[in-house]
Amino acid sequence: MAWFKRSKQNIDPESRKNDLPDGLWEKCSECAEIFHKKQLEQNLWVCSKCQFHFRIGSAEYIKVLLDDDSFKEINKKVRSADPLQFTDTKKYSDRIAGVMKSTGLYDAVRTGTGKMNGREVALACMDFKFIGGSMGSVVGEKIARLIDKAIKSKLPVIIISASGGARMMEGALSLMQMAKTSAKLAMLSEEKLPYISVLTDPTTGGTTASFAMLGDINIAEPKALIAFAGPRVIKQTIGRDLPPGFQTSEFLLEHGFIDTVVSRKELKNTISTFLELVS
C-alpha cells in the first residue's frame, strides 16, 4: 500500500491547507476521514468512523461536560510572572506573550464552576496548546484556588488533564506545584468531597505524578498517552523498543491505575452517575 505514503514535501502545512479548503474541514489523523467542523463538534470531536478522539482544549471540554452557558470562570487573568527571568533560545516572557496572543488563553488551565446535569461542580481544564499544557506557577495556583473554593462551597472537583508535565521555565517552582496541588487534594479528601481526574491525550510527567493520578476515580479517554517518563526517554534509557500499546489508557487500565476508559461521548454521564452514587 505504498501508493498512499506521502513524501515529506507533501505534508508541509501549506499543502495540508490546500487539502482542506477554507479551514472548515478537519482530517482524522487515524483514518484520514474528513469532517466538516460543525459535524465534528456535534460528535464531540470524536471521529464517527474510527472513534479517534481529536485533541481539544478547555473551550471544547466545557461544552462536552457542562450544561449550556453554566460555566463561570474564576481567576481567568492570572498569568505567569516569569519568576526566574528564564531565557533559553528565547525569553520565557516573550514566549508567554506570543502564546497568549496566538491562543487567546492566559495559561495552560482554565478553572471555574458550572452545572453538570443540574449539579454544581468545580472544573479545571487544561489546554495542551499552551506550551504543551505545562504546569508552572499559574496552573498550580489556579488549581489550588479552585480546590479551596470547592472546599468552601462543598463542591466536587473535576480536573481534565492534558499536559506534558511541569514547566521547565519556572524551574523548582514548577516542581513545587506538584506538591501544592496534591496537598490541596489531600485537604479536599479530608472534607469527604469527591475528586474526579480525567486523563486525556497526552498526560505525562509531573502532571501525571501529581493531581492526575490522585482521583477518587481516574477516568481516561480511549488511547490517550498516559505516562510518567515519556516513551522517547524510556527508549533512550533502556535501549530497546517499547511493547505495542505501552502507556496507553488501556495499558494503564490493565495495570490498575485507571478506573475506567470512557468515550468522550459518555464522559459527562459517567461522571454525573458517579457523583450521584457517592452523594
Binding site: 487573568k77 492570572v78 498569568r79 505567569s80 510572572a81 519568576p83 526566574l84 528564564f86 531565557t87 533559553d88 533560545t89 508552572g136 506557577s137 499559574v138 498550580g140 495556583e141 489550588a144 511541569a166 514547566r167 521547565m168 519556572e170 524551574g171 523548582a172 517552582l173 514548577s174 516542581l175 513545587m176 506545584q177 506538584m178 506538591a179 501544592k180 496534591s182 496537598a183 490541596k184 489531600a186 485537604m187 479530608e190 510527567g205 509531573g206 501525571t208 505524578a209 501529581s210 493531581f211 492526575a212 493520578m213 490522585l214 505516562a227 510518567f228 517518563a229 526517554v233 524510556i234 534509557t237 533502556i238 517499547l242 511493547p243 505501552f246 502507556q247 495495570h255 490498575g256 491505575f257
Partner: protein, 316 residues
C-alpha cells in the same frame, strides 16, 4: 579509594600534591618558609575558587562521587540504626533506604535516596534512581513513624525516578503522586534535606515536609541541566547555560522560598570531610526538630499545606 578530581579543583590538587612532596623533604632541606607560602597560596586559591562557583560547578560538586550519601550520614550521625526493607508488595528497592535511628537525644525515622560509589554498587543501587517500590517503601516507613509518633527526616539525592518499562507498569507516577498526597498530611514533623542531586519528581517524591534544608553545594530543580539543554536548546551542549537559567542552587532556591535554610559544607565541598559535614548536619537537624515537636499535629499539617501553597509566583 581513588579520589576523583573535578576540572576546577585541579589547580588546588596540584599545589596540595606539591606540598606533600615538600613536607617529606622539609627536615633535611629546611624549607619551612617556602612550605608556609604555598600553604597560604592553597588557602587563597580555595577561597577564590569555592566562593565563586558557577551553577554548573555546583552541579558537579553535588554529583561528586566521593560525596557522603544517605547511609554515610546515618552511619556518622546516629546510633542503633535499624534498616527496614521492602514495600510489602513487589520488592525491596535498593535506591531508597530507611529505618529508625537514634539521632542525639531524638528517636527518628530516616529515609533517603542511596547511590553507589563504584560501578558494582551503583548497579546494585540503580544509580539512586528509584522504582515505584522505593516510593511505596518510603511511604510505608513514614506511616510507621507516624504510628509511633516519631519525626521523619528524608534525604534527597537522586538523578531522577527510574524511567523504565516496569517502572511505568507498576505506576511510577501514581507512587510519587501518592507520596505528595500522604506526606502533606502526616501527623509528625517532617524535615527534608537535599544532600546531593534533587532531580524533579523523583526527588520531590520524598520531599514534602515542614522544613526544607539544603546543603550548600546541591542542586534541586524540575529537570537536570543536561535534559533541559536537550529539550530547549535541542542539543546536549548547553548544560552550563541551562544550569544558569534553571536557578537550581541553594542560594537561588532560598530566594524563591523553595527551601528554608542552607547548611554550610566544609571548604571545597562535603566530600572533603565527611565527619565534619555529618556533625554540622546533625547539629542543624537537632536544632530544627525541637520547635517542630511543640506544634500540635493539626496545626503542623495546616502550616505544611500553607507552606507549599505559597510557593510559586503569578501576576493577577
Amino acid at each position: 579509594m581513588a579520589k576523583t578530581i573535578l576540572e576546577f579543583e585541579k589547580p588546588i590538587a596540584e599545589l596540595e600534591e606539591k606540598l606533600v612532596e615538600m613536607r617529606k623533604v622539609s627536615d633535611s632541606l629546611h624549607i619551612e618558609p617556602e612550605i608556609k607560602i604555598i600553604e597560604e597560596k592553597v588557602n587563597e586559591l580555595k577561597e577564590s575558587i569555592y566562593k565563586n562557583l558557577t551553577r554548573w560547578q555546583r552541579v558537579q560538586l553535588a554529583r561528586h562521587p566521593d560525596r557522603p550519601y544517605t547511609l554515610d550520614y546515618i552511619y556518622l550521625m546516629t546510633r542503633y540504626f535499624i534498616e527496614l526493607h521492602g514495600d510489602r508488595g513487589v520488592k525491596d528497592d535498593k535506591a531508597i533506604v530507611g529505618g529508625f535511628a537514634q539521632l542525639g537525644d531524638q528517636k527518628v525515622m530516616i529515609i533517603g535516596h542511596q547511590k553507589g560509589r563504584d560501578t558494582k554498587s551503583n548497579v546494585f543501587r540503580n544509580f539512586g534512581m528509584p522504582n515505584p517500590e522505593g516510593y511505596r517503601k518510603a511511604l510505608r516507613l513514614m506511616k510507621l513513624a507516624e504510628k509511633f509518633n516519631k519525626p521523619i527526616i528524608t534525604m534527597i539525592d537522586t538523578p531522577g525516578a527510574y524511567p523504565g518499562i516496569e517502572a511505568e507498569e507498576r505506576g511510577q507516577a501514581e507512587a510519587i503522586a501518592r507520596n505528595l498526597f500522604e506526606m502533606s498530611k502526616l501527623k509528625v514533623p517532617v524535615i527534608v534535606v537535599i544532600i546531593g542531586e534533587g532531580a524533579s519528581g523523583g526527588a520531590l517524591g520524598i520531599g514534602v515536609g515542614d522544613r526544607i534544608l539544603m546543603l550548600e553545594n546541591c542542586w534541586y530543580s524540575v529537570i537536570s541541566p543536561e535534559s533541559c539543554s536537550s529539550i530547549l536548546w535541542r542539543s546536549w551542549d548547553y548544560k552550563e547555560q541551562a544550569a544558569e537559567a534553571l536557578k537550581l542552587t541553594a542560594p537561588d532556591l532560598l530566594t524563591v522560598k523553595v527551601i528554608d535554610r542552607i547548611i554550610p559544607e566544609p571548604l571545597g565541598g562535603a566530600h572533603k570531610n565527611h565527619q565534619e559535614m555529618a556533625d554540622t548536619l546533625k547539629a542543624v537537624l537537632l536544632e530544627e526538630l525541637k520547635p517542630l515537636q511543640k506544634i500540635k499535629p493539626d496545626k503542623l499539617i495546616e502550616q505544611r499545606v500553607e507552606k507549599f501553597s505559597q510557593m510559586g509566583k503569578v501576576i493577577e
